[in-house]
């Protein structure tokens, strides 16, 4: 049985199905009806489910439950900015389990990292990164100034890389006490040519680290897909072979450091699947080549938008399960690493995030 947590603009949908047995997915629960659920995941260490909920009236908050997702959820204490300043939480983009018991990270807008050491019940702002933010005059992307990607180092809670739209890659090796940039090699084609070398306006769209080769990361940038082989310090463009370098979603195969999957969109001015054809592209040679993975996906008159967090995966290798949702409310899945696809659900609300529980 596979459980999907599907965040939408009108609540969280919990879908259950068993693709291995051919049992279709169905809605097992809906929570936060009417509210935008930006992101949801289940911490595999504890089974605790989290949902980032943004009410159009009452603002953003992080909720969690250890029980039935259709029942009562608890509100976390934070993330919230310290009182006495000007900044207030706008949006929680991601919650990521860390590499120690009870350790979790939350990436938010305005771009900041919050850390929990009690399993997500309370949160504290990482002040050193926030100081870099305020000193660096970070600039927002179209979706706001967002810290949306958090990449722990397997087995070492001191080491972390984060991705910010639009303030690039930041790396710590001392548990967040100090941070350095990982800008080298990124080419911001949206900036004047003479500014590209020195700008900090670097619009990272998504970033993932290989658990088995942690110096290897893949990134979906505002333009082009990149790979780093030195912990995120420098980057190489590996988008050749893709129909477009633009997109948001990305997943990796945790067992294969050479594998990554993206869903290209036309471009910044037209954020839909190119040519009305829905395709996932996968590499298993570190970005040297990309395979079109579309068997079972819409191949005509399908202009879908797949948002940053709306692509999730579980398992590994040829049996890896992949799932993504679109703002059309359609959710698609694959139980064979993208070789073939099926419809998981149709006509949900616009999908903002998909994670396999």
């Amino acid at each position: 049985m596979t459980e999907l947590l599907v965040g939408t603009k009108k609540g969280l949908f919990v879908l259950e199905g068993d693709p291995a047995k051919g049992e279709p997915f169905a809605i097992a629960a809906r929570a936060f009806a009417g509210d935008l659920v930006e992101f949801a995941l289940r911490d595999p260490r504890t089974g605790r489910r989290f949902a980032s909920v943004t009410s159009g009236f009452y603002g953003p908050r992080l909720m969690y439950t250890d029980g039935d997702p259709a029942g009562e959820w608890q509100q976390s204490k934070g993330p919230a900015f310290p009182e006495g300043g000007d900044d207030a939480l706008e949006r929680i983009w991601i919650v990521k389990p860390g590499e120690a018991d009870g350790l979790l990270y939350a990436g938010v807008a305005p771009a900041a990292l919050f850390i929990s050491t009690d399993g997500g019940e309370s949160w504290t702002l990482n002040e050193p990164l926030w100081a870099e933010h305020t000193a660096g005059n970070w600039q927002p992307g179209a979706g706001g100034l967002a810290l949306h990607s958090v990449c722990p180092w397997p087995g070492d809670p001191e080491r972390l890389a984060i991705g910010v739209s639009a303030a690039g890659v930041w790396i710590t090796e001392d548990g967040g006490q100090t941070w350095r940039t990982g800008y080298r090699g990124l080419i911001p084609e949206y900036m004047p040519e003479e500014e590209r070398e020195n700008t900090n306006v670097l619009c990272v769209h998504n970033m993932h680290r290989s658990p088995t080769q942690p110096e290897r990361l893949f990134m979906q940038f505002h333009g082009n897909v990149y790979r780093s082989d030195d912990q995120g310090s420098s980057w190489n463009d590996v988008h050749a072979g893709l129909p477009s370098g633009f997109g948001f979603p990305m997943v990796i195969d945790p067992s294969d450091p050479d594998a990554a999957f993206v869903i290209p969109l036309v471009g910044a001015d037209d954020r839909v699947t190119p040519g009305g054809v829905v395709r996932v592209y996968g590499t298993r040679d570190a970005g040297s080549t990309w395979a079109e993975l579309g068997d079972g996906l819409p191949d005509r008159e399908a202009y879908l938008t797949i948002l940053r967090q709306a692509f999730g995966a579980s398992g590994e290798g040829d049996a890896m399960e992949l799932y993504f949702g679109a703002t059309s409310g359609d959710v698609f899945g694959s139980a064979d690493s993208g070789s073939s696809w099926f419809s998981v659900h149709e006509r949900l609300a616009p999908v903002t995030s998909v994670r396999v529980a």
Binding site: S55, F57, G59, F81, G84
Partner: protein, 89 residues
């Protein structure tokens, strides 16, 4: 003390009670006291800097105000979602 009236879902988060007698000399102080008594309300009306959220309206004796407005002992505060809220279509 001033009286704060709430509707769902705020009422549900404040012990299921719609009317609350609370001390405070400004809208912000009164609402902070509400948060203190009912932590489940924290962050819902005021943001972490004590500002009334953009899509929440607070009326004092029928007049729309913000967090720094004065509140007298006999005042009645109504907390209502703004019709401009729900901005996610």
């Amino acid at each position: 003390m001033a009286v704060v009236t709430l509707r769902a879902p705020l009422k549900d988060r404040a012990g299921g009670t719609s009317e609350h007698e609370l001390p405070g000399s400004t809208v912000g102080e009164v609402l902070r006291e509400l948060e203190t008594r009912y932590p489940n309300v924290e962050g819902w009306i005021l943001d972490e800097q004590g500002r009334v959220r953009a899509h929440v309206n607070v009326f004092v004796n029928g007049e729309r105000t913000r967090e720094d407005a004065p509140v007298a002992q006999t005042d009645v505060l109504h907390v209502l979602p703004s019709i401009s809220g729900g901005s996610h279509p």
